[in-house]
Point group: C2
Chain length 282, copies 2
């Protein structure tokens, strides 16, 4: 099947990355409501990543969507959609916002931060990071000692890291029970092994890295802007991610995808093979 | 599923009508080779009839197609494809011919004649007829009596209906064992009940007529350029077709499509419900 990822945050946000033909069907199989999706992120303008988008957007309208939708993607995506809409006599009944990505950048969707970074493919391409910042937990006891328990100043403390209270500076660390941390999921899209990707995905909990080939096709992989399973594992190891999920396999390996898995695990043990409708929790 | 029809002629021609999203998957399930398809006929430019086309054309190229492909369809189809190709960095490696339909007309594909006729929908729309002419069979005995057995003049006789031989006019009827006849399959695309359709499909062996609604939604059907099952059956009866196959049902009937079948059979007995991957032989 064509690659794509749906991210459902515990805080409610629903994000789709890439929309090849048949994405609607897969979303329906996974019982994901298309009209709850907040944003669709497109990695690059190759058909296997966007041909499912016009139908998806149209079906949202037909099934009564009123919630605005944010589309994030590279140059050309807006023209593609507008042309497609015009050719097929369609206009969405909901508001459709478009954000063109360039270089590195980020935007917020609800409580999530979406970051994009360039990938190394044959055409302009981006990877995405979806980041959730879990705030530090404060200690009731430590707060009480400072006379701050149930005091509205604690939210300022959480936000700024320090406050002045009764003439004293109180830092977050002094009253913290558990530090805050970022949870991060990264998705490379199509890419050859790429220093931009390496830097961007550093220390992510979960990395979806494409692995089109095994190292028996190393040259072919790089020539066509793709990675081998070994390349993906090296990126994962160097970036210090928590877990690597491979995807976007060439059908030449369909008899035995384990070739890819073994190659990657020799380099980075915490590797899994992505699969249609598979679910991962961070 | 989205509507579409594949016609495989005993003489080898392979014709696809309409290409909604997921058409490739259905063709693959039906074990129809996409690279044997000679022509794709598009009824109208609504997304559920064309969104599968760019991916199909791209996949033909990726899987090594070299045979030219003929695309037949209404105004806007060429722009739609060119825009889609440009947006996704794609150019087919095979020759792609485009024939824009207008009003009534026909073209030949191998031994088949393709005819188009306007339908009555909310946007410019066409139905198609695929016609195969089976030549008359000549009687060896009758030919022998006229001294024409194994004579190359018989092909002229078949073609023109009469020849002059040894000063006499000989007509086809005089030496015929079995008359020729046309086999015809008609496909309406989306349409309200429509006199153009009625005339065009006259005496066809097999008519695929859309039946979006039952007569409980008669007004809604016509208002949106669709037919009820009863409308379709009336067209079938008046046109004197051999068999009617209903398709393009509204999902509101998904619990009980037999409502549509019964309504149609009350008017025209030789009616069937079309179904995904169903096959019909003429």
């Amino acid at each position: 099947m064509l690659p794509g990822l749906h991210i459902k945050a515990s805080t409610g946000e629903s994000i789709l990355i890439d929309a090849g033909e048949g994405t609607q069907l897969q979303l329906s199989k996974a019982e994901i409501s298309i009209n709850r999706i907040d944003a669709i992120l497109i990695t690059h303008m190759h058909g296997d990543h966007v041909f499912g988008l016009p139908g998806l957007l149209e079906n949202m309208s037909l099934t009564g969507r009123t919630k605005p939708l944010l589309i994030i993607g590279p140059r050309g995506l807006d023209d593609y959609l507008v042309n497609s809409f015009q050719s097929t006599y369609f206009a969405p009944r909901y508001k459709l916002y478009y954000l063109r990505v360039r270089g590195f950048g980020s935007t917020n969707i609800g409580k999530l931060r979406i970051e994009w970074f360039p990938a190394c493919h044959t055409v302009e391409a981006y990877g995405y990071k979806v980041v959730y910042y879990k705030r530090p937990k404060l200690s009731k006891e430590k707060l009480a000692k400072k006379g701050l328990y149930n005091n509205p100043l604690t939210s300022t403390l959480l936000e700024k890291g320090r406050i002045k209270y009764k003439g004293k500076t109180i830092t977050l660390e002094e009253v913290m029970k558990e530090p805050g941390r970022e949870y991060c999921i990264a998705y490379t899209g199509d890419t050859a092994p790429c220093t931009w990707v390496l830097e961007a995905v550093s220390r992510c909990d979960l990395l979806f890295h494409e692995a089109t080939f095994a190292s028996d096709h190393q040259y072919e992989a790089w020539a066509y802007g793709h990675s081998t399973a070994g390349d993906a594992a090296l990126i994962a190891r160097e970036a210090g991610v928590g877990k690597l999920v491979l995807y976007h396999y060439s059908t030449r390996y369909k008899e035995n995808y384990n070739v890819l898995l073994e190659e990657a695990r020799n380099v980075f043990l915490h590797t899994e093979l992505g699969a249609d409708l598979a679910e991962y929790t961070v």
